[in-house]
């Protein structure tokens, strides 16, 4: 894409908050160690402000006096092919976890700048081919993992059979495309294919709570890869398809499965991308579980999970989504020996698998290395089970536990909740 068009895209995204974050970094460097990537590698390319400076240099060149007249003074640079080539690794090796923002004395949102840098890289055709392929799959087939409607329906049949066995009820069915019900449940394809137990556990919770729900045979994957590749049009298109389906089915609430970025995208970002309120509520399955426990709608027996359990706050659920206490409420009710990781909640270390890292195998070494802090945290907790509320984190945490030789089982919060369910007759 021509430079002028890219600069136009940048200009269109310059708001007061964006300009503030671009112009206020003092390069004090205290955020460096709060980034898991820098903390482990000590490579300057992983300093949050270094990552943000990629786009910041171009912003200054075109949007500040000093950058226009005295570019050498403020490190301003022209937007060239060569300049952008130098961004790719530092920008795509950011998990957009925002731990640096929490720790910046000024409160700079580096991840906002980094995502905008991805927007430009994507438009210039410079995004990693692997990530682009996943995004294309999501647009074309509805799933980044290319899960087709047929595969989805086959999986549902299997779940249905399992649930019938579990409940001893041959009449149990999973409602598909049922209009007018209260809830639409949309899983993530990573759960469907790699962690089917989580979907089973979710169905058990729904059954125990006695809710009126449906799944969709049209939108059966809640992920939104536009968040990762930086293409705003893709982001909006995917969100709009999900919204249209929820509207077609006339549901009151969309239940997001354990998928951190999907929750962040639909709960917090989509209304702002689309400039309108969503015509339904958005809730994560763990939030709902906590609500049902509180309402006495489901009952849990902690003795069913006697091992020591700890919890990893997915960055997109916690630091970026405000879901901190609900999983804890559920885990306190479902497990006998729950311990916290230190640090936790908004200070929790990113697992290293966010920002699309799982879809870019060329960064596998970096991804596993950056999980070192997480491994150390888990080891220090003495936990035998590591719970989390995001399939993406679950995948990464499995890899990290294996990589660092920790004999710790990774489970979803929903799985632990389902195991602890007390069936009231």
């Amino acid at each position: 894409m021509e430079t002028e068009k890219l600069l136009g895209m940048l200009k269109a995204r310059v708001s007061l908050p964006m300009a503030t974050f671009m112009e206020t970094c003092t390069h004090c460097g205290v955020c460096a160690d709060s980034c898991h990537l820098y903390h482990i590698a000590k490579d300057p390319m992983h300093i949050p402000s270094y990552k943000a400076d990629t786009l910041r240099r171009v912003y200054k060149r075109h949007h500040t006096w000093a950058g226009k007249w005295l570019p050498w003074l403020v490190g301003a640079r022209d937007l060239t092919d060569q300049e952008m080539d130098g961004w790719v690794d530092t920008v795509y090796q950011c998990t957009m976890c925002r731990r640096c923002s929490i720790n910046c004395p000024i409160g700079i949102d580096n991840s906002l700048i980094i995502r905008t840098a991805r927007t430009l890289l994507n438009a210039a055709g410079k995004g990693p081919a692997t990530l682009e392929e996943h995004t294309r799959n999501a647009l074309e087939s509805g799933s980044p993992l290319k899960v087709t409607k047929e595969t989805f329906l086959e999986r549902l049949e299997w779940f249905e059979g399992e649930m019938q066995d579990l409940l001893g009820d041959d009449d149990y069915t999973i409602p598909v495309d049922q209009a007018g019900v209260e809830y639409l449940y949309v899983p993530a394809s990573l759960e469907m294919m790699k962690f089917p137990q989580t979907v089973m556990s979710t169905l058990q919770l729904f059954h125990a709570a006695g809710i009126n729900f449906t799944v969709s045979s049209v939108r059966y994957d809640i992920t939104n890869y536009g968040v990762f590749n930086g293409n705003d049009e893709t982001t909006r298109t995917i969100a709009q398809r999900d919204i249209a389906e929820a509207q077609r089915l006339g549901v009151k609430t969309v239940i997001i499965s354990e998928c951190g970025h999907a929750y962040r995208a639909m709960r917090w970002e989509a209304p702002n991308w689309l400039h309108h309120d969503l015509p339904f509520g958005v809730v994560d399955v763990v939030e709902l579980g906590a609500q049902w426990v509180k309402e006495g709608r489901i009952h849990l027996d902690p003795a069913k999970n006697p091992e020591r359990v700890t919890y990893h706050d997915p960055c997109n659920m916690g630091r970026n989504g405000g879901v901190f206490e609900e999983p804890r409420q559920v885990l306190h009710g479902s497990t006998e020996d729950f311990v916290e990781l230190s640090p936790n909640r908004e200070n929790n270390w990113c697992c290293g698998g966010g920002g699309g890292m799982l879809s870019m195998p060329e960064y596998n070494d970096v991804r596993l290395a950056s999980g070192k802090m997480k491994a150390a945290q888990v080891k220090a907790s003495g936990a035998q089970v590591l719970a989390t509320a995001c399939a993406n984190c679950q995948f990464q945490l499995n890899d990290v536990m294996a990589h660092y030789g920790l004999n710790v089982r990774v489970e979803s919060v929903t799985d632990l909740m389902a195991k602890a369910l007390v069936r009231v007759v």
Binding site: P17, A32, D33, V74, P105, G107, D109, N272, R345, N347
Partner: protein, 212 residues
């Protein structure tokens, strides 16, 4: 010193005018930018988040980064405090007030601020990670701040240095609208945006209803 006095007296109004116009212009440019409203239904309280971000969240023990880098944090605070007092001291002098008490405060605050600024300057030069993120603007800004602090110190020791200090202050004033020193105002914007978003999402616990 006489020619310096003459230079400072003649050009001080011009420097002040550059500061006022440049500052105002940059502010107007920024304030004319769109301010997108967050329309996602809040979980916490954006306003409380902003207040928290500007107050308690700034306490050094509240952030892991400032706990780890407490030397840098303390130096930063000392430099900013020294600079703030130096500016206040200058305004007081310009208003025609002076006195040994004020001089004594400056004799303590200015060298403290300068030593801190100098220490951070040295760190920026010698630490690899700091060099990697620094631009000439970072060094120039530090030197200008150090100039003002040294000027204030010398003036507090001997009023005869006042013209030198005035020149240092003029350089600072002319530079503020251009470079990173403008964070003196944008800092507050940034903290408010940070606090509002994290507050609204219920991430800052002081701004969120705790359900458990």
């Amino acid at each position: 010193m006489e020619s310096l006095t003459h230079f400072a007296d003649s050009w001080f109004p011009a420097a002040a005018a550059v500061f006022v116009v440049g500052f105002g212009w940059r502010m107007v440019r920024l304030l004319r930018l769109p301010r997108p409203k967050d329309i996602a239904p809040p979980k916490g309280d954006a306003a409380k988040g902003a207040v928290y971000a500007l107050t308690f969240a700034m306490l050094p023990w509240k952030k892991e980064s400032t706990r780890i880098h407490w030397v840098t944090y303390t130096a930063g605070m000392a430099m900013h405090l020294g600079l703030f007092l130096a500016i206040l001291y200058a305004l007081v002098r310009l208003a025609g007030w002076s006195g040994p008490g004020l001089d004594m405060v400056m004799q303590g605050a200015a060298p403290m601020g300068w030593a801190a600024a100098f220490g951070l300057f040295v760190k920026r030069i010698f630490k690899r990670s700091m060099r990697a993120i620094s631009t000439p603007d970072d060094f120039v800004s530090s030197l200008l701040v150090q100039g003002v602090l040294l000027g204030a110190w010398l003036t507090a020791l001997d009023g005869g240095w006042w013209p030198l200090w005035k020149v240092a202050a003029m350089a600072l004033m002319v530079y503020i609208p251009l470079g990173k020193l403008f964070h003196m105002v944008l800092f507050f914007f940034s903290r408010v945006f940070f606090g509002r978003q994290f507050g609204s999402r219920g991430v800052l616990r002081h701004a969120a209803p705790v359900s458990y």
